[in-house]
Amino acid sequence: MTTQPNLAPPAAAKPRSRLYRMWDSDIFFSFRRSPVTIVAAIVAVLLIGAALLAPWIAPYNPFDPSSLNLMDGFTPPNSQSMMGNYFLMGSDHQGRDVFSTILYGSRVSLFVGVLATAFAMLIGISLGLTAGYVGGKTDAVIMRVADIQLSFPAILIALLIFGIARGIIPPSKQENMALWVLIIAIGLSNWAQFARTVRGATMVERQKDYVSAARIMGVHPLFILVRHVLPNVMAPVLVIATIGLALAIIEEATLSFLGVGVPPTQPSLGTLIRIGQQFLFSGEWWILFFPAITLILLALAVNLLGDWLRDALNPRLR
């Protein structure tokens, strides 16, 4: 059955707005039918929105030493400190508001995660396109490098790159560069997934007649790759990108937890968890608990969205 079903024409033939058509499309239809996805989307939007708006929502600025008071330390959640300050999620050993540090911390986590994923995509897509389109020895070399990369745990590669960077960059600049080194380290440890997927999809597209048609006209190969092939291989890339984003956030947290991530002056969720675990056994559970829950929720929500996107874009599962 390849032809259009002979349905009654839609009652209202008047042109609808672009927004309405998007809402009415099949992807959003599958979105509306999946309660899990809706919840995941709401959670993700709330967390990301809160992170972006942190300076305006956060009740305290946890990184302004002048506003900190050690007397506020270890206040349990939902209570007032001896100084009369209210803490929704309690405060840590330095008297910082845990809620505020989480808002600022997810900002750092998301910043690193998004940029690292974008960096991995950039490398992975360009190498994948080249390997898939050129083929032969180029393909073999690129894909063997990817294989080697995949045979190491990503975290190990990130640690390695981090260590090398530490050796190269002068100590005075390390503080400022740490974030960027982290982004590059995580990006370099995640590109292989993108390269593999893009290569496979490119090899399929390359065989199609519209690429042959362009080649007959003498269109430049780079133009064919960017304008013809790339848009047609993006669907699977988007799916791995969302799942990769969750992975990158977790990877950043792991690195920060190990103490090789972001500097302590810009704590991410991972740093907060590292700080919190020191106090876990002395009864101050909230310092660990809230950052950890935020990390789990963020990673889970993004992952579930990626999962849904994969199903929605996969014509076989329709």
Partner: protein
Amino acid sequence: MSEPIVSVRNLVVEFPLRRGLFTAVNGVSFDIMPGEILGVVGESGAGKSMTGSAIIGLIDRPGRIASGEVYLSGQRIDNLPPDEMAKLRGKRIGMVFQDPLTSLNPLYTIGEQLIETIRRHLPMNEAQARQRAIDLLAEAGIPSPETRIDSYPHQFSGGMRQRVVIALALSAEPDLIIADEPTSALDVSVQAQIIRVLKQLCESRGAAVMLVTHDMGVIAETATRMIVMNKGKIVETGSVGDIIKRPQEEYTINLINSIPSIKDETRRHDVPPAATPLVQVKNLTRDFDLSPGMLDRMLKGSKRTVVKAVQDVSFNIRKGSTYGLVGESGSGKSTCARMLVGLIKPTNGQVLLEGDDIWAGGSGTQQRRQRVQMIFQDPYASLNPRWRVGDIIAEPMRALKLVANKREAEERVADLLEKVRLDPISMRKFPHEFSGGQRQRIAIARALSSQPEFIVCDEPTSALDVSVQAQVLDLMRSLQDEYGLTYLLISHNLAVVRQMADDVGVMSKGVLVEQGQVDDIFDNPQAEYTQMLLNAVPDISKVN
């Protein structure tokens, strides 16, 4: 008069979709008598395959039989529970599908698959079942079945595999065989053999056959009665001879008229035989190196294997004429086409475009890009789904820098769309908003946009329904008259070539076995291969 094997009464199959209800089969009724072959024809989406699936109870969800009844030898079967229905399939109803590759399990020998099916339905022991399997294979025309029975499906050719599928369908002595496009994936010569097998078996066993196909020629040669379906409804029923020679309904009349026949001597504009050749193909050869990798060759001593896809092919195409290249799959005709347009580099030989070698580089390449274009078989794959139609059509102009600015390009695209009989508004739309025939016209507009003189058409209509095929061929012909185009028309469909071409070349296994003027070749073929090919074509003129 005996009782019909299968009777279908007012069958309605519905698919509840997101936006309303799609009725795939709408009130279809028919009977098939023992020993009768009922042909079911229609264009894609007519509901013919769905009717077959409904009878065997294999409609994909969410589709369902909404109303109507199906009787098998008087017993109502459409309302049977699924496990009862499963027992009927294979035992009393055999099935043959289009693709013989996917109908057989590649991990088992054909013997295992046959014996398993036989023993599930008939009370036989292993040895008896094996003997029966061998008999069935012999009946289906497999040579030396005693040894072939232990082969795996991939060791058979496409035609042989389809015979195995037929043997499998017959293994439990079914009363009814449903064959859904059983020969559409096969070459004509193989197709003719399969049709013969199917016909013989039907006669000798008295089974009823429901033959679903889009190919009227196959029906004309095989079936006794036929029904014509359109949009889920039966348009016309009757004996094959009556319908083909004296169709009553308008739909059927149009359908029959749009089917080209190899016996047609239709108009061709007169190209002076002495016209200068536009394209000269000289001793064109292409080898494909399928050798194992270098390491394998060194370590295991594997041999180099080279496939000669095209061997020493030479022909001339006169300016303003159409040269038809015919042959079965694997004959090298598409490889030829790809060498002519610059996609595959020839191993040897030359392609001259008014004397310039298009593979010599430099000016030859530039000449080729502007003057040679190609139309592809699959209109779904030949247009980039993410581009607007206007951009697709303008691409050659932009690539070859033939237009100065966007406005000029847009005006030319509008012109071209009108030339291929589409609304210029179409340039703002995406390819998926068009039907197959419309897309092929968009592909033609793109090919025309660099104002080429020579267009290579590789199976331009074989993915289209016959009525659409007639429109596209008609368009190609009028564009040829208007612009003085030269075509190389590649097709496995001999009737299309007869209708369109001035000269024709017949290819087999990479070699050009015969060439000449189209009427000479079709009416008086010299090469044995050409004669065989022409005899094998199922054609509506062969109805008896």
